[in-house]
Amino acid sequence: MAENEYIYYPGCSLEATAIEYNMSVRLIFKALGIKLVEPDDWSCCGSTPAHSVDHVFAGALAARNLAIVEKMGASTVITPCPACLSAFKKAHLRMVDNEEFKKEVNELLEVPYECGVTAKSVLQVLLEDVGLEAIAEKVTTDFPDLKVAPYYGCIIARPPEVMQFDDPENPVAMDKILTALGVEVCDFAFKTECCGAAFGVVKKKMVNELSSKILNMVLDCGANCLSVPCQLCQQNLDLRQDQINATMHASFKLPVLYFTQIMGLAWGYSPRELGLDKHNVRADHLIRSKRSIEEKRREEEEKAKTKKGKGKKGKVKKKPKAPKTEDKKAETKQPEAKTEEA
């Protein structure tokens, strides 16, 4: 298939609740002159309750889509959704190193999957294929008020042997991209902490606690919004924020943006094109003041302060000023321990 073209699997939620993620992704790839081709007749990725009930079935759901991609003669499929991604990768890897499983799965498929497709996240291809230079080149606008906490969620880099991308404990892919955009990225400690989305329906109370911890940490690290690559996190933290405020006696007002939306903004697209109006917590106040990067450069040259990292090892990050924080209850959910699969 052509150089500047990707097979693009949006996944169910990007057609609905997370349509703005879809919009922004398509927009930036358009801007990059890269065509996104949807596989015809793509179906559920299997990251539904299926995988907790029947591995073969879940595998087959994923493999069906991979088989379609394979038939299109492509060796890579990209998806914005971490859940789809992990479903694809899990099924693929399992089929590769377990002939038996592969057979069972393919028996359920009209088109067998021959394990010739690598699934990648939109995040990964933007970082690895497109590259930071290309991303930085396109930047036109700077938003001085924007202070972003990069929140990755639990699965985009975990388990490492499955996702094979970035650091499972301290992912940095999104940080790099945001930095390349000239956005101020805060040192956010809860990058991969569980937001509880999975229990959204059954254990509201716990979810609220977990989410509020994350939002607290956002404030603690001096950020005023979150950037996410996962629509489940987005939905959970954005849609649920009022509920969290209510149950946790907090008053968060933290916009939860897709990193692709922030890219779009920095590249000069309008909030509407990027579907920012679709969020529950609006980011308008953060993006109201903006300037062209030329202005930015000029202003910065004026206050030419040189700050150098000292010593050999890791440069010293500036201390985040800790604003209002309540809630220091020891009761929290155990963050996902590193998975131990031989």
């Binding site: 809860f190 603690d220 090892k313 890791g314």
Partner: protein, 653 residues
Amino acid sequence: MRVGVFICHCGNNIAGTVDVAKVAEEARNMPGVQFATDYMYTCSEPGQEEIKEAIQREQLDRVVVAACSPRMHELTFRRTVEKAGLNRYFFEMANIREHVSWVGEDKDLNTNKAIEAVKLAVEKVKQNKPLFPSSFEVNKRVLVIGGGVAGMQAAIDCAEGGLQVVMVEKSPSIGGMMARLDKTFPTVDCSICILGPKMVDVSQHDNITLHAYSEVEEIKGYVGNYQVKIRKKATYVDWTKCTGCGECTEKCPSKDAYDHFNYGVAPTTAITIPFPQAIPKKATIDPTYCRQFVRGKCGVCAKICPADAIDYEMKDEIVTEEVGAIITASGYGLIDLDRLPEYGGGRYPDVVSGIQYERLLNASGPTEGHILRPSDKEEPKTIVFVSCAGSRDKSIGIPYCSNFCCMYIAKEAILTRDHIPDSKVYVFYMDIRSPGKGYDEFTRRAQEEYGVRYVRGRVARVFPKGKKMIVKGVDTLLGTQIEVEADLVVLATAVTAAPGAPQLAEKLRISYDQHAFYVESHPKLRPVETNTSGVFLAGCCQGPKDIPASVGQGSAAAAKVLSLFSRDMLESDPAVANVNINVCVGCRKCINTCPYGAIEEEELRDGRIVAKVLETVCAGCGVCTSTCPCGAIQLQHFTDNQLLAEVNALCLS
């Protein structure tokens, strides 16, 4: 041919899953077998007697013992048959324990497999030829690689035993890790105070030649006669002139060099003397920071040096030492803090490693013994220690226990309470491993007398909150999650093999495990020997161990060398290559492929060129034999016909 076969029960180890009687019975029908029996413990005194008697009684001329691995007992039985008057190479072992009884469950299959193993050995032994070792002289000098406490002990013991010792230390001073420690457990003795005298002994002993800031470049030869090339790295300071006065280090303008000795707790100068008790106490320039090298101009040290010892033009120098044995005490490494991102390792200055903390505690450290946290040089009030930071963690490929962390954490905790009486000290631990004399009492003192709070559970995450570091973990005894607001976090970073350990092992031709720790000949019975004769191990290069264990191994290795050198001549293994000059066509392929250059040309009277093996140089790998097209050069004891006999025993049936 009169072969005797002895099947060992090895108690139940073999007899449990192999019908030894049947094996013996089958053996009796094998062509050439004169006598076969089974015995409870063939390696026992009476067991060996039985073999000797049988050799006399049955006039056996070949012996096969089916028992454990030849790597275990081949030597034992070779001696036995020799005592009974046979050539020691008229013996073969069939491994029916490690390779049969211990790995197979089905008794019939095992028995059959054992029978075939015996058949194999019988066919081989019938092809065996008597071999006679030749002897060669030993160069009674020993090379010690590594100037840590293990290496120093080995060097001193060898030197005291009258041997000439060459010590190679890669850093500018000997002393190793122990020199960096503030105190030692469980006595809380001053580390450098007890190490210093040893260091002085090393430097002043007439029998010890010290090459500091040097590394082993290449090793040639074999036990008794090694040639070692040593690279003396350029220090850019003429050590024959340098008096160690230290003026240069005060005046040096580039003050942001990485301090290897202090593990980068604070920057240092480009020209340094690592620590006050350093031996040799000489300055070294780090060209990656020195302005003279980076910017091409500076020369301050050169100007102020009273001894005019600075030499920016200095180059590495290669010296060659000839030795008869090598003790490697090349020490260990520690994983980088960056490999522990969940603990903020490498990102937050107030998350330090145990060894860095030692330097913060130490009076000659960058903080002169005041515990000040790196970020703002304030005295921390709450200090959290995290044990097993990387150790026992499959997910980063370190499944093993680092051995001494539990103890030094207890020590550092105690010292912290001494330094800062009003401090709160927490230790997160998985288990407390304190199996040593006075060790458990020590960890208890930490808890009971010094009020260190031990929390049984792992830390999930460490992150900053204001000026504090939040340590988020679980208390498995209370069954709850806990968060501690700490001022300083100390990680007991996992012990790894020393950087470059595999490369050194390859030079030494010894093997290393998947974690690059060196492999001893036998985990229980030959802990300081390697499979390369003449090369011995001491200290942490073999695996994490504490000071007394390292010192013990140092002495043990020295003892091994002394006993090796107690003979003037060594016997060479006669299982070397041998040329049949009537067959050799002089194609020189063996000469070109021999890894040891042990084969040369020889011109016969009729002018024919044939290959000639230098017996003492040949190590017996047999590459020549599999290279020779006409089979003229044969590795003794593993000749084509011997291996073919084994193949045929298995295949033609």
